[in-house]
């Protein structure tokens, strides 16, 4: 069935004007229409936070749950009902602080979830405390003299948990966002999409370098599997190998030519270079960084049940009773 974005829209979003959540929501509606899964076979599950209000604006099945538990609740929904397409939506606090344990284990198990991480590097709903993705030294209401702790880098956490899919988009970049959402849906397994978004009230400008089109042209690279990693307004820059790492170089300078530029391989099982790409500060890597096929937990659970059903001779409760040592009292 062909859908339009309106088939997935519901209600009037209540985020602050200019919040990145508005942009992302519009892209999610469009992506779902293009993906074409029926709204009634789709569940959107969130935790708590500004971004976790999102399921209220979806015409699908949805749950707006408790702080940090979205990935765990989504895990149960998907494993119990594998026919459901499950989207899990969390902010950086919900997903990586209070929900960090569920985030890593959903990745490790490789549950077939589309996991959205809306990263504005701040706690918005509680009005402006630093988050686990705020940079060291970040000044906020709860860190008036600057934080003295290092942030998580979501890709590093995902890869450390043996995640098989990681993509990144900027909330204001609709085509880029829709592309990664569709890729996340196509990927069977836990798919993490980090969405860089601005909080106009408490952390304005946090992603300024890439938040508008002009900025992205200068400061971002759109990665495409199988294509040379070129970027810049005129593709004048490229990513080359640099010892054990990668670096951005200007073609024609220091003897670098296009031939030196690496070809992106999102399908490579070894995540070493993908991690290097994800962690670059300039340019910021956008698009699908890692997309590797692996068995999913929910498929394996179902397969194991079928396998054991074929092996064992008992298939209902009455037959189960008969597998015990039974005696008869006459």
């Amino acid at each position: 069935m062909a859908y339009t974005q309106n088939d997935f829209k519901k209600g009037q979003p209540r985020w602050c004007p200019g919040c990145g959540d508005h942009f992302f929501l519009a892209s999610l509606h469009k992506a779902m229409a293009e993906i074409g899964v029926d709204p009634w076979n789709t569940a959107v599950i969130s935790g708590i936070g500004c971004s976790s209000r999102l399921p209220h604006y979806m015409a699908t099945y949805g749950m707006n749950t408790i702080h940090g538990r979205a990935a765990a609740i989504a895990t149960g929904a998907k494993v119990a009902n594998p026919n459901l397409t499950v989207w899990q939506v969390s902010g950086d606090g919900d997903g990586l602080a209070i929900g960090g344990n569920h985030f890593i284990h959903a990745n490790r198990r490789n549950i077939n979830l589309n996991m959205i991480l809306l990263n504005n590097r701040i706690y918005g709903l509680t009005k402006g405390q630093y988050s686990p993705t705020s940079p060291r030294g970040f000044v906020s209401k709860s860190s008036p003299y600057g934080t003295v702790e290092d942030p998580f880098r979501p890709a590093e956490l995902c890869f450390g948990a043996r995640g098989h899919f990681f993509a990144r988009a900027v909330a204001t970049d609709a085509p880029g966002t829709i592309e990664v959402l569709k890729a996340a849906y196509e990927h069977k397994g836990a798919s993490v999409c980090e969405i860089l978004q601005n909080c106009v009230i408490f952390n304005n400008g946090t992603h300024d370098a890439v938040y508008d089109k002009a900025g992205r042209a200068k400061n971002a690279i759109y990665l495409k599997h199988g294509e040379k990693m070129l970027f810049g307004e005129n593709n004048e820059y490229g990513i080359v190998q640099d010892g054990f790492g990668v670096k951005a170089v200007k073609l024609g300078e220091d003897g670098y030519t296009e031939a030196d530029v690496l070809i992106h391989d999102a399908k490579c099982e070894d995540n070493t270079l993908q991690l290097k790409l994800a962690e670059m500060e300039w340019p910021v890597a956008l698009g699908v960084i890692r997309d590797v096929v692996a068995p999913t937990y929910d498929d394996c659970v179902t397969a194991q049940i079928e396998e054991v059903k074929a092996q064992k001779k008992y298939h209902n409760f009455a037959e189960l009773l008969e597998t015990n040592d039974i005696w008869e009292v006459k």
């Binding site: 749950m63 408790i66 765990a72 092996q311 005696w327 009292v329």
Partner: protein, 611 residues
């Protein structure tokens, strides 16, 4: 040889935790149950992970009560004590009656063994004040080695069969048919026939040793079987019966069974049991933590499964947040709490009833949840079935309480016929409501409807924020919140539960004994003993604790004296006082991590009567 006819006998197997006492005890229970005796068992594991061999903290015990008629408890003290080493004798002798027969392995009472067991002299019997005439002392280890000398086994493997020699001896003492034990071993070790054969050989040797050597010393006990209820039976532990109850309910409701769990003593066996039965379509997920166990189960419930999470007290602390979410979302969920000693890590392998108020109240906000407590190992089946039925039909999380004593103990379980169990009909949203349905629309009994994802036209959102009664949208309206709070409470209050049954002298009792959950057997045995002494005593035992049975106040106020006996500081008494105006009972409270002792109950209740 004197043959003593007895109504019931208690046997306690004890030894080092590596000595296989649980297996020996299990086989003996099965053999006894097979000939039609009633049984009640109590495994008493050491708390230490792996205490040094031969040490006092490493002793593992298994007690079984065998009766001609119905037995309700594993027994206060034993008639026969098997002590496989010096540490076992030292720590377990306190569980033996003054005239108990004691079987020891003299090979395990050497100088080093005695030192580890903290005996001061070599006269360990004298030190403990044990009459040597009551002791069947045999060089058990030597005899096992002799018996298996030709088997080609190494010494370590041979020594693993020591428990079977003791079992053989006990079987002789009780005139048991060894063939039943042999068949048990052949099945257990079907894939290792060599081990089965060695074990069988050693049991026979133990039996023969008793027969040939001690026929003039000890009594042989005979437990006849009476009051038999015809039928087919199996031995079942409380945890296994709980798992079976979940499976049966899922089958009856036509739903997939989902268990989200995290290993925790003493609840883990439920996870183990359910994980085996994939051929019944059971899905178990061993989660990353207790929180996820409950949260993932709630996700599974939303997605249309019969969802269960299993744990013990410390896990309930962690699950309470997601349980609360289930309360406000009004989704079915069964939370199993196999209680253990607390607070915090407390006494992980021991039994208490100290989580009752946590189950009733341990969540933020007004958060009513039904609470059901199983009375015995076999009752866990019915209690689990009832919990699932209640959760599914009333769209609510339900707490099912058992305890370490009930969970690890076992009893003879008459195989249930699922056709005789009540149907389970969840309130699925009716197709004709399409277009007008909102998530908190309620049926006549106050239950909201269940719209499972996959149904077109019923897309909706549930969540932890308060919702408008009519539209289901987020609402902070004060009148609406008050209304929703009352509706959630009224829904739970309206759940029908069976009336409280009064046992014993229900018309003219001078004392009513009140309890809940796993103390049923001990309280019943205490009542029986007092009535045998000519006293007028009745008992009322709560299985349904929230909501309380309709006749609760009537029963509690009918008798001149009432005592609430529980393994906590008075939690049920407090709950009843809150719910029944003017009810002020006497209390018997014990928090030792051990089952009640019937003799202590009788003494205490008798004093109360005489006051």
């Amino acid at each position: 040889m004197e043959i003593k006819e007895k109504e019931s006998v208690v046997v306690r197997f004890s030894g080092d935790s590596g000595d296989g006492m649980q297996l020996a005890g299990n086989i003996f229970s099965t053999v006894s149950a097979t000939v039609g005796n009633s049984i009640s068992t109590f495994p008493d594991y050491p708390a230490d992970i792996r205490a040094p061999q031969g040490s006092l903290t490493g002793v593992s015990g298994f007690q079984v009560h065998i009766g001609a008629g119905q037995v309700f408890t594993p027994g206060d003290q034993c008639d026969v004590l098997v002590a496989m080493n010096a540490a076992a004798l030292k720590t377990q002798y306190k569980f033996a009656k003054s005239d108990a027969a004691i079987i020891i392995d003299t090979d395990s009472f050497g100088p080093k063994d005695l030192e580890k067991a903290q005996f001061k002299t070599e006269d360990y019997l004298g030190e403990m004040g044990i009459d040597p005439d009551r002791v069947i002392a045999c060089p058990l280890t030597t005899m096992v080695k002799d018996c298996l000398a030709d088997s080609g086994m190494d010494v370590k493997s041979m020594l693993k069969c020591r428990n079977m020699f003791a079992l053989g001896l006990v079987c002789w003492l009780f005139d048991r048919d060894l063939d039943i034990a042999f068949n048990f071993l052949k099945e257990k070790f079907a894939k290792k026939p060599g081990i089965a054969e060695a074990n069988i050989k050693v049991i026979q040797a133990g039996y023969d040793y008793g027969h040939n050597t001690h026929s003039s010393v000890a009594n042989v006990y005979r437990i006849e079987t009476k009051n038999k209820v015809p039928g087919r039976y199996m031995d079942i532990t409380g945890n296994k019966a709980t798992a079976y109850g979940f499976i049966a309910a899922a089958e009856k409701a036509g739903l997939k069974l989902y268990l989200g769990s995290y290993p925790i003593t003493p609840a883990t066996d439920v996870l183990h049991e359910l994980s085996k039965h994939k051929s019944l379509g059971v899905t178990t997920v061993q989660c990353e933590d207790e929180i996820s166990g409950c949260a993932s189960a709630l996700g599974a419930s939303f997605a249309g499964a019969l969802a269960v999470t299993s744990t013990s007290g410390p896990g309930i602390c962690l699950k309470s947040e997601a349980m609360n979410l289930a309360v406000i979302m009004e989704l079915p969920l069964v939370v199993l709490d196999v209680q253990r000693g607390g607070p915090a890590t407390g006494l992980p392998t021991k039994s208490e009833q100290t989580d009752l108020l946590q189950a009733l109240f341990g969540r933020n906000g007004e958060s009513p949840m039904p609470v059901i407590a199983a009375a015995s190992p076999t009752d866990c089946f019915d209690a689990a079935y009832a919990a699932c039925k209640m959760a599914l039909e009333h769209m609510t999380p339900v707490i099912l309480m058992t305890d370490a004593f009930v969970a690890n103990g076992s009893g003879a379980f008459k195989l249930p016929n699922l056709a005789e169990y009540p149907a389970i009909n969840p309130p699925y949203v009716l197709e004709e409501l399409k277009g007008t349905w909102t998530p908190y629309m309620r049926a006549e009994n106050g239950t909201r409807y269940w719209a499972v994802p996959g149904r077109q036209g019923f897309e909706h959102i549930l969540g932890g924020l308060e919702k408008d009664d009519k539209t289901g949208a987020i609402s902070t309206n004060p009148e609406n919140h008050d209304l929703m709070t009352r509706k959630r409470q009224a829904k739970i209050d309206a759940i029908p539960v069976p009336d409280l049954e009064v046992l014993g002298d229900k018309d003219d009792a001078e004392l009513l004994i009140v309890g809940f959950g796993g103390t049923f057997g001990h309280l019943h045995a205490a009542m029986d003993e007092m009535r045998a002494q000519g006293k007028k005593v009745a008992m009322a035992h709560f299985k349904f604790i929230n909501p309380l049975p309709k006749n609760t106040a009537e029963v509690l106020k009918k008798y001149p004296k009432v005592v609430v006996a529980e393994q906590n500081m008075g939690q049920l008494a407090g709950w009843l006082r809150m719910k029944v105006d003017g009810f002020v009972p006497a209390q018997f409270n014990q928090v030792k991590g051990q089952p009640f002792v019937v003799a202590e109950l009788v003494e205490n209740f008798t004093q109360l009567l005489n006051k």
